[in-house]
Symmetry: C2
Subunit: 323 residues, 2 copies
DNA sequence: TTGTAGGCGTTATCAT
DNA sequence: ATGATAACGCCTACAA
């Protein structure tokens, strides 16, 4: 900047004003500065700017796995909003590890990012409270933070699962099996509980649940067991899209055509055989809302922590019509 | 850091040494400093560190679309390598726009990132040469940079397309249609050229190509035309995974069961009907290799620009066996 | 083993 | 409308 200032025969402060588009620079002065910038190929050093201002114009995003479509769509949405606000996106995968999540958080905070958007792993987050109080806003996505009151964007897991159960019940299914993830994951626990209450409310069996099996073999065995009964399971609800796909493979493997409703839509759900009915979430909206919440806080909005709960949508496809 | 120094009754330099794990600090001194750090909740300001060192410990990644599985897998691989090297990942979507690509590049360079990994949009990159010369390494992925000699990681498009054509020819197909993207995209052009040479080498027709149609309608109409002939097309090769899926939908729409081989594998390719034979690329390997190339340059490796060409793999599924 | 001085490039403050 | 000067927090070089 000094070089530019010299060449344009002005002070560095004037150069700074031009670079930042501030008011109060005569057009001809600005022109001289711009020309000097062009000639020297000058580019502002944002590290210095960040240091002086105390904050970096970037937001940190921590997801479980960047290559999972659910998270990459969230990431893309966050990045789009961030760009409109002239912020960069720093992104990392915690891979379900609380330690990595803390490391990433620490790295982002060291870089003095303007804010953080986090899909939290299983763990307590009270240690983040100090940072929050120190003025770095944090928004949680998909699952709320435990031990901490912070903004969050969630999906209406309860209504989503209920819509799946009611849909199947309306088609005459009485014994519905639920395949979920490890209930230590907040969403898995929520969906399991929702399955319990939805089935109970309709007078259906609530005990046909299995949390954990991820492999085709395990699920295939389970399906065999559930369908050997004199009063067999005739429909499945799966707790996330990976389980939907695995269940589909398992059903093919054992040659059973049970009805199936999956939580979370997935690419080509309409092209597989059978096309899978799903309870669709809207990950792009989740990312967008989270980023909006964050930038609102950055704009100085106060008040208590907000929680945005997004609705789900039942997308009926062929797998509803089996059995 | 001054606060920590005061509390531990040492100089800031000693604190700096402890924070950076440098040699030559007595254990008891280190213990005192660590305790002060803990008490004060101190966290190093990386903006200041970056400024002083002249480089940020982060790498910038520019892709076309963060939510596309191909790119998100590349991103995840880059991030993994970056983390091992204690670097953060800054990521953005250029969305096929040369202007956005330049903006993002500029933003990353302003932040003085250690290096750049770019999936280039259609355009000349000689303007980047100055930065390259100034010491910021750049690695291109999926397509090479034009007007600039830089490291690149590519897929062997020629061998990939050839393997598809030879596979179909071996199954007796003589009239193979090729559906590609706009040949302004480097990969699309490469694959089209490869199709031309592979068919010519086998004495097959090379003129059954269509570059551009992306919609089910357009492709359906094309298939109708190609199959109305007295000497009809019996097999298709598609130039990327979106086209594979669209072609699949189009074939269903018009009720034709042509053989199909797609370039690039996709999730559930084995579960759709018919399961689609593909020429698989390895995006995770591409991202990983690109990051390795970058860090090798950062470690001071000199020499001319390297180009790494990764092989493809033909994955045979049901769609090979039609007609 | 530990400390002092100076400067990285920018922006805020206060002058002019 | 423009400029001089002092931070921002850290690290390099050198000194003790």
């Amino acid at each position: 900047m000094v070089d530019v200032a010299k060449r344009a025969a002005v002070s560095v402060k004037t150069v700074s004003r031009v670079v930042n588009g501030e008011e109060g620079v005569r057009p001809d002065t600005k022109a001289r500065v711009d020309e000097a910038i062009r000639q020297l190929g000058f580019r502002r050093n944002d590290s210095a700017s960040d240091l002086r201002r105390g904050r970096a114009e970037g937001i940190g995003l921590i997801v479980e796995n960047m290559s999972d479509p659910f998270y990459s769509v969230i990431g893309a949405a966050v990045e789009r909003v961030a760009r409109l606000q002239r912020h960069l996106l720093l992104m990392g995968s915690a891979e379900g590890s609380a330690e990595r999540e803390r490391d990433l958080t620490g790295a982002f905070l060291s870089r003095r990012v303007a804010g953080l958007i986090v899909v939290p792993a299983i763990e307590d987050h009270h240690w983040l409270a100090a940072e929050l109080a120190a003025g770095t806003p944090v928004v949680f996505v998909d699952r709320p933070a435990s031990g901490l009151s912070a903004d969050a964007v969630l999906t209406d897991n309860d209504a989503g699962v209920r819509s799946a159960v009611e849909h199947l019940a309306a088609r005459g299914h009485r014994n519905i099996g639920f395949l979920g993830d490890n209930p230590e994951f907040w969403t898995a626990g929520q969906r399991l509980a929702a399955f319990g209450s939805a089935t109970a409310a309709l007078g259906l069996r609530s005990d046909l649940t299995a949390m954990g099996p991820h492999e085709v073999e395990g699920i295939a065995a389970l399906v065999e067991t559930w369908t050997r009964d004199s009063d067999p399971v005739t429909a499945l609800v799966t707790g996330n899209n990976r389980l939907s796909v695995t269940a589909l493979r398992a059903l093919r493997r054992v040659g059973k055509r049970l009805a199936l409703v999956g939580f979370d839509d997935f690419e080509l759900a309409d092209m597989v055989e059978p096309a899978v009915t799903v309870v669709a979430q809207d990950p792009a909206a989740m990312g967008e809302q989270a980023a909006h919440l964050l930038f609102r806080r950055l704009a100085g909005e106060g008040g208590p922590a907000r929680t945005v709960v997004l609705p789900t949508r039942l997308v009926v496809r062929d797998s509803s019509h089996l059995v």
